[in-house]
Point group: C2
DNA sequence: CTACCTCCTGTAGCCACTACAGGAGCAAGC
DNA sequence: GCTTGCTCCTGTAGTGGCTACAGGAGGTAG
């Protein structure tokens, strides 16, 4: 059994975040030592690592909770997982496309902006009518 | 002069968000009508639109505030603006790269995941040791 | 004069943490 | 046994950038 510091090291989840996950019921409450300290088994640490990996993949906590409950079942409802993963993939792709458009807009704005110019063409363009509407979302 | 609803329409900033910007001191407090309603000039609406455009470009509010104060000055410190824009560009590019790596990781995970399979290989991979560490940030 | 719309203030919620404050457990060295 | 210093505990508040009420008042069209 490991204290929260070791569990944090092994799972890659911040100590404060582990306690947060426990408070929110995202992971089950671990046992305690005589002195009141949390004690984690290897299985519980594996669960924390699982949560971190899903989080690193950009899944929201609500989805991760569903994943966790699916891993508890013997039949792991692969179809459901695949559907959620593909939905998430779509969101990531959309985000990338948005960011690329955003980067291009910003590039074309700042291109005309030379050091030392008194009136900044970028700020001017943002102040004037007719530029850059319809970029968001 | 326009009420907050018209200002919202013309600037593309949500009414609640306009009041929020005012509370936070991001835009100056507008005048009021006899009945206590906010009244916006075209200039104030232009400022709101400027904030929205910067926000659409993904700039954080703190940077937008700097931009706003720079637009107040006659010499618009173009070098400063360019530096902040380029810094922001770097952040956007990093975000895109991260998302692309994330998308690829998710793709390779879900590829093996066929509908109807009992034990989901994606969940398995996330549970096991040795996968997907070092993806985040 | 009534119905309805827009506006007002103030507060709380969202997500996923992060950062304290103020105290207690615990191991190693003297 | 005592000190030092690390890790841990609880509880609360803050982050960013809004968004969503609740409960009431101003203003307008018919």
């Amino acid at each position: 059994m490991f204290t929260i510091g070791k569990a944090s090291e092994q799972s890659g989840v911040n100590i404060e975040t582990i306690r947060y996950y426990e408070r929110e019921g995202i992971v089950p409450k671990p046992g305690r030592s005589a002195g009141g300290r949390r004690l984690y088994s290897s299985d519980e640490i594996a669960k924390l690592r699982f949560v971190r990996r899903c989080r690193d993949l950009g899944f929201p906590i609500s989805i991760i909770q569903t994943f966790l409950s699916l891993t508890e079942q013997s039949d792991r409802s692969c179809g459901e997982v695949k559907a959620m993963a593909e939905n998430h993939l779509g969101e990531i792709t959309a985000k990338i496309e948005n960011l690329v458009r955003l980067r291009d807009a910003l590039l074309s704005l700042s291109k005309n902006c030379e050091d030392g110019t008194a009136a900044c063409p970028m700020l001017d363009a943002l102040m004037k009518d007719g530029f850059g509407d319809g970029l968001q979302e």
